[in-house]
């Protein structure tokens, strides 16, 4: 009797949609090669945009996955939550005035800068592993010289921090 090692279960919560099966297979190869956990699945009818093959991915890794697919020129339609009814990505931000400093909050991420110099003095919030790394990379740098979380990060927390940085840049630009 042959013994097969049972594959570990995978629950990603996100879907990458493709126009055709060829793109889906190519996308799977690109992501697997880079070490992402993926699973070929049939998308629910209400989410289907192109072909009837999609990749289940860890939704939290959406920014890193999209960046890689673009870099490798692997065609895909979109990445979205598997759960129908989920809201779209948050676009709104909140701004808090701390006198010499301004804090911008995008979803669970906050970025604070000194108004006069534009120096990033803190980032807070989040929970993904790239966030402490970005915290270390960004603090003490001027807003327009700091690395972009969307370039260095891999997760939705990083994407939200990037949104906060965008708003900070706009506010600081307006104040100068």
């Amino acid at each position: 009797m042959a013994l097969f090692k049972k594959k570990p279960p995978f629950e990603g919560g996100g879907l990458v949609l493709f126009m055709d099966v060829h793109d889906a297979m190519a996308g799977e190869k690109v992501l697997k090669t880079a070490g992402y956990a993926v699973k070929l699945v049939a998308p629910p009818p209400q989410l289907r945009r192109g072909c009837d093959l999609a990749l289940e991915v860890n939704l939290v890794e959406q920014p890193g996955i999209e960046r890689l697919l673009k870099e490798k020129e692997a065609g895909y339609v979109s990445v979205l939550p598997m759960k129908p009814g989920t809201s779209g990505l948050l676009e709104v931000v909140k701004v808090t005035d701390f006198g010499e400093w301004t804090m911008v909050k995008a979803a669970n991420m906050k970025l604070s800068f000194e108004k006069k110099s534009g120096l990033i003095v803190n980032t807070s919030g989040g929970g993904c592993p790239d966030i402490p790394y970005l915290h270390a990379e960004m603090i003490g740098k001027r807003l327009d010289e700091a690395p972009r979380p969307r370039d260095l990060g891999f997760t939705l927390c990083a994407l939200m921090l990037d949104r906060a940085l965008d708003e900070c840049l706009a506010l600081w630009g307006g104040e100068r």
Binding site: V60, A107, I139
Partner: protein, 298 residues
Amino acid sequence: MMLIAGTVPLKDLPLTVGRAAAEGDSLVVDGRRIPCTQGTAAMATAAVVATDYLKLDAPQVLVVGDTGQGKGSREMYEYLIQNVARLSPQVLALHYCLPDMALTRRLCEAVKGCARRPVMIADAASMYAAKAAGLAPSFDVFTPDATEMAFLADPDATHPAYIAKHLFDTDVTQTPKLVEAAYERKNAARLLLVKGATDYIVENGKILATVSEPDVPALEPIGGTGDTITGLLCAFVHAGLELHEAAIVAAKANRMAGRMAGATPATRVSQIISQFPAAFQQYLCQWSEVCYSQGGQR
């Protein structure tokens, strides 16, 4: 034994487990120095400082390098799944990592093999994974901030970036409604410590206490000040306080340390942590009836 597990932003740090110590601005685990900044390092350092003050064993800490690609996070989960029953910690606190629903599910199964069920505490992305996988009731404590509370209240979101806009728009006065929604949908742990301008301590849906003094708004922008509350809470639970007592004392101590540090948005979390011993010395007896004389006698 208290076990704290999470990733740290050191790319090449292998999975490291050991009794932790705080030295200067670093957390030291098995001889490896980890800068005490936002994340697991701040949380664990706060727990170390509190256990040191209370003359308790320092926490066992599991750290692994991960800057976002998830390899270290998966190693962390796998180590815990394989070893948690053998280790049987009294307190198990999960922190920064790439949230993984299937691995969290396996970990919750593995915890059932412990001689005695640990107090299960989750913050940061470990909390996201627990909620997204429908495992929140398997945990004893979550420590969300305001947006994360909205995430727990949102029945569909698997990450706070996908919460409904109307939930993100709510202010602190709406926290009780969010709490109610989260418990109704079984998306909350037994106890919630909701961190914000007013901290809410909630057990099984009932708001037991709020903490709003001292009011130090500058704590919110400082990366790691939410992590330190969770670390303090772990230490006080380990010391034998009831969950809600530990949460109240942790919230008060964090605020007081912020005030003592003269916190501004530019303050570093290590400056807050350095004030904990003074805050404990001055207030811990009053807040918790955990009292020490100068010589360390309880």
